[in-house]
């Protein structure tokens, strides 16, 4: 049945999207707490923007290190 293949593909796609969305949501929460320390203004300062970008990318770097650390054992 070609439908079940189509459905299978659809579900895989949505799972992928859900994973990404969860990751973005979690990192936004973590990095918001770290980087936005004052009351939110009408515009981010360049420092806040940079901090958010760095925070997200360093979190990824850290995940890699942690994964490697466990591979070593």
């Amino acid at each position: 049945m070609e439908n079940s293949a189509e459905m299978q593909r659809f579900i895989e796609q949505e799972q992928q999207k859900a994973m990404m969305s969860e990751m973005v949501g979690k990192l936004t929460s973590v990095c918001w707490d770290k980087c936005i320390t004052s009351t939110p203004g009408s515009k981010f300062s360049s420092g806040e923007t940079t901090c958010l970008t760095n925070c997200a990318q360093r979190f990824l770097d850290m995940s890699v290190i942690i994964a490697k650390r466990f591979e070593m054992q």
């Binding site: 439908n3 459905m7 949505e14 929460s29 009408s42 958010l52 970008t53 925070c55 990318q57």
Partner: protein
């Protein structure tokens, strides 16, 4: 409802099911986002709850919501569209 009886073409309910799943997922994402934004902005803007929300608390909340949406975009770009 007698669409099942037609012998040619895929059963039409696959697409309907996908649409339904998509709609429910969209609602779930929105709900989760709303909850998170609410928690973050309440923490930032309503530090000492009074008998009603003050004007400055309200404007802080609307700025906070805008910034949180912006932050989501920044984080998302940092993760997915960077050439690293």
């Amino acid at each position: 409802m007698d669409s099942f009886s037609s012998s040619s073409g895929p059963p039409p309910n696959t697409e309907a099911l996908m649409d339904q799943i998509k709609a429910q997922l969209a609602q779930a994402y929105a709900q989760e986002f709303l909850e998170t934004v609410g928690n973050k902005c309440f923490a930032k803007c309503v530090t000492k709850p009074g008998s009603s929300l003050s004007g400055s608390e309200s404007s802080c909340i609307s700025r906070c919501v805008d910034r949180y949406i912006e932050a989501t975009g920044i984080v998302s770009r940092a993760l997915f569209s960077s050439t690293r």
